[in-house]
Symmetry: C2
Subunit: 132 residues, 2 copies
């Protein structure tokens, strides 16, 4: 049983959304970063028990740009914190999950991350992350 | 700053999804209930730091049935735990939020709950809940 590390929310304008979460929910910005490999800029907002990751595309070919074009702003993915992403990918594969990332890669905050396809996760794009 | 009480996920088949979360994530079923006012059946799955609420329609006119017809299974809403839902609704209204529920009503687990429209919440259907 893994803790929820963060809820990913795709947004059109990162600055406006950070301000929104600060004002509307009293949440705190703790980290902001460009993730070049995903063509996104992300901001992590702290709640008392988990994080919200706001994601916005910084290039048109970003997967988040495609998501926004199709759905608009909104809930994008869930990320669970695991002790070992490689072991978790092997376990998910053995349970029949469709992996998007066959091996862990470096994501935001220097974490090792990997995504599993929503088709095999109850319709939810699912990320596993490991602090390094 | 409020803790995330749960992530709501709309599903087609509650039994299958409960089994899925138990097997795939080692999560535990802690509560299951029919919420007649919303024409839904819900199950709460415990993670170490928050809950997942699986929702499925139990009548065709359920709002969750409409969601599933449009989007399929997937992320549905976020719920924050607050000390006083009435006070929070007044605060959200003063900040310009569009309330779905103008006053708190009884939801699952006997909690007082109220929903705020996604249009005024960064595209995220947002619930506030208060234990009673």
């Amino acid at each position: 049983m893994y803790p929820l590390d963060h809820v990913g929310i795709a947004v059109e304008n990162l600055d406006e959304s950070i301000t929104f979460y600060q004002r509307q929910l009293g949440a705190q910005l703790i980290h902001r970063e460009i993730v070049a490999s995903q063509a996104t800029e992300v901001a992590f907002i702290a709640l008392p028990n988990c994080l919200i990751e706001l994601l916005t595309p910084n290039r048109p070919e970003s997967p988040v740009a495609k998501f926004l074009a199709k759905h608009g702003s909104g809930l994008h993915h869930l990320c669970y914190r695991v002790p070992d992403v490689s072991a978790e990918l092997a376990r998910q594969r053995s349970l029949g999950a469709m992996l998007i990332d066959g091996t862990p890669r470096k994501g935001a905050r220097g974490h090792l991350i990997a995504f599993v396809h929503p088709k095999s996760m109850n319709g939810v794009l699912t990320e596993f992350c490991q602090a390094t």
